[in-house]
């Protein structure tokens, strides 16, 4: 069971179970997480979610064996073309499509990340794209170590963290491929709060209750407004802002 979902009142808790002690992501995890986030978005009774690793790590990286298996048909050019050039031809539940959809799709409801241990590579994309508030334990680490192993893809770009933290820190994580510790992440405003090891989920739950007291419609309007209008001109930003205020 790679993703477990529990709802209590207006708070939905999503726990991630990858493989091994480092909680490496598998295709099944990506598919299930995608489904869980969509379900949370559609669940009218839920207004805030918590995202946490089920084990000692949040997202340690990608399980290379599982990945090799899922992308086995990319051994030849026809397979590669099917995955990247003609994605519409794919089975919608196929790994590559789900992967792409997970890291593009935006929800409108606030999500709190509770991070213990490692948050690497696509975990950073998850952090930047899908989470809005972040609680991390002191042993947490953040970064893109897959770059050291040859990963040339755009996780850093896809994460959208360039718009959330100082560029110098995103550059550090990308160019040195060295993970940064939780204290540095806190200074860089990648995370909101530092807690002791083991306390991230409890703190996230307390914060979730606080967030849940705000009317659900307001939360959605605020999150959508914040995310959507960041790059708009002032006058352009007023239009959705007013529309959201009136809705």
């Amino acid at each position: 069971m790679s993703v477990s979902v529990e709802r209590s009142g207006a708070v939905t808790e999503i726990r991630l179970s990858g493989t091994g002690a480092r909680n490496l992501a598998t295709p099944e995890l990506v598919l299930s997480l995608n489904d869980a986030l969509v379900a949370f978005e559609r669940d009218e009774a839920a207004s805030v979610a918590i995202l946490a690793g089920a084990r000692a790590h949040f997202w340690g990286g990608v399980d290379p064996d599982a990945q090799r298996e899922a992308f086995a048909d990319m051994a030849d050019m026809k397979g590669k073309l099917r995955h990247f050039a003609f994605p519409m031809a794919q089975d919608m539940r196929a790994m590559a499509v789900a992967w792409r959809r997970l890291f593009r799709w935006r929800g409108s409801k606030p999500v709190i990340a509770a991070i213990e241990g490692d948050c690497f590579d696509h975990g950073m994309v998850l952090l930047g794209v899908h989470t809005d508030l972040r609680i991390a334990a002191r042993d947490a680490r953040f970064g893109f170590p897959a770059i050291r192993r040859g990963d040339a893809a755009g996780e850093a770009l896809a994460s959208g963290l360039a718009a959330q933290i100082a560029p110098a820190w995103l550059n550090w994580m990308v160019e040195t491929a060295e993970p940064i510790d939780a204290a540095t992440a806190h200074r860089a405003w990648l995370i909101n709060e530092l807690v002791d090891d083991g306390d991230a989920l409890d703190r996230a739950r307390a914060l979730a209750l606080q967030v849940a007291r705000v009317p659900a419609a307001t939360l959605r309007a605020e999150k959508l407004g914040t995310r959507l209008t960041r790059t708009l001109d002032q006058d352009e930003a007023l239009i959705p802002a007013i529309a959201l205020a009136r809705s």
Binding site: R104, E155, A156, A166, W172
Partner: protein, 255 residues
């Protein structure tokens, strides 16, 4: 020789040396830096990272205003700087191109005006010696634009940047660290060695991976997030098209 260039173990070291300890910048230096950064460093497959330093106690006080004024006084500005009415035609190539190779800016003393253009725009990683002072002091003399050309507005909190723009005062290394503008503050005598340590961290990584990720970040700077996600997603194929890279990635080496 205003710009020294030296490569060892995939690390390029670029040292700017002016005619005085202030390392004021001249046109000869701009041309040499442009040549070094874009033609030598970014194009050389053997170079994985560069370090940019000023020789001695200062990084650079920026454009040599005395020399510029002297040129205006004798009417030489129009010949040197071209037909533009504004006397100062700052090195356009270097302002519109970006480095895809990581560059570590390592500073001591003054980092002012035109020097901030290099530091802010081209140095992606930053080590500041304790004596570093960053700013746009030319603002006090009525000269406009360096802070915008340097694009430092997106690199530190708005209120702090406005303080620099409105007063022309500098900020020190600690303030720059707190603001996320620099990555580390070290004692002045540790600046070169720490920059080298960081360069070695970068040099351990495959060149193409780092350059591709950095290029995507630069390209994505003003891109809407959905477009950026699509671009990033499609680059995943880079991991598969270059077989050795994919094989390395899937070898399952520990992070």
């Amino acid at each position: 020789m205003p710009v020294h260039f030296d490569v060892a173990d995939g690390i390029a070291t670029i040292t700017v040396e002016g005619s005085s300890a202030l390392n004021a910048m001249t046109y000869e230096m701009y041309n040499a830096l442009e040549d070094t950064l874009f033609r030598k460093v970014d194009n050389d497959p053997a170079i994985k990272v560069a370090i940019l330093l000023g020789k001695g106690a200062n990084f650079s006080v920026g454009h040599d205003l005395k020399a510029a004024q002297a040129a205006i006084d004798v009417g030489a500005d129009r010949q040197v700087y071209g037909p533009q009415p504004f006397y100062f035609n700052p090195f356009p190539e270097i302002l519109s191109r970006r480095m895809y190779t990581p560059v570590i800016g390592a500073t001591r003393g003054w980092v002012l005006g035109a020097a901030m253009c290099y530091f802010g725009l081209h140095c992606s990683l930053r080590i500041a010696g304790e004596s570093s002072q960053f700013g746009y002091t030319e603002i006090k003399r009525g000269l406009v634009g360096a802070s915008i050309m340097a694009q430092t507005t997106s690199q530190m909190p708005y209120a702090l940047h406005m303080l620099m723009s409105a007063t022309g005062d500098t900020i020190d290394a600690r303030t720059a660290l707190d603001a996320g503008f620099v990555n580390e503050v070290v004692p002045d005598d540790r600046v070169e060695s720490r920059a080298r340590e960081v360069a070695q961290l970068v040099a351990r990584n495959p060149r193409i991976s780092v350059k591709a990720q950095k290029m995507l970040l630069i390209r994505g700077e003003r891109m809407p997030q959905q477009t950026a996600s699509l671009l990033a997603g499609s680059t995943w194929s880079l991991n598969t098209l270059d077989e050795p890279m994919f094989a390395t990635m899937n070898a399952g080496e520990a992070a």
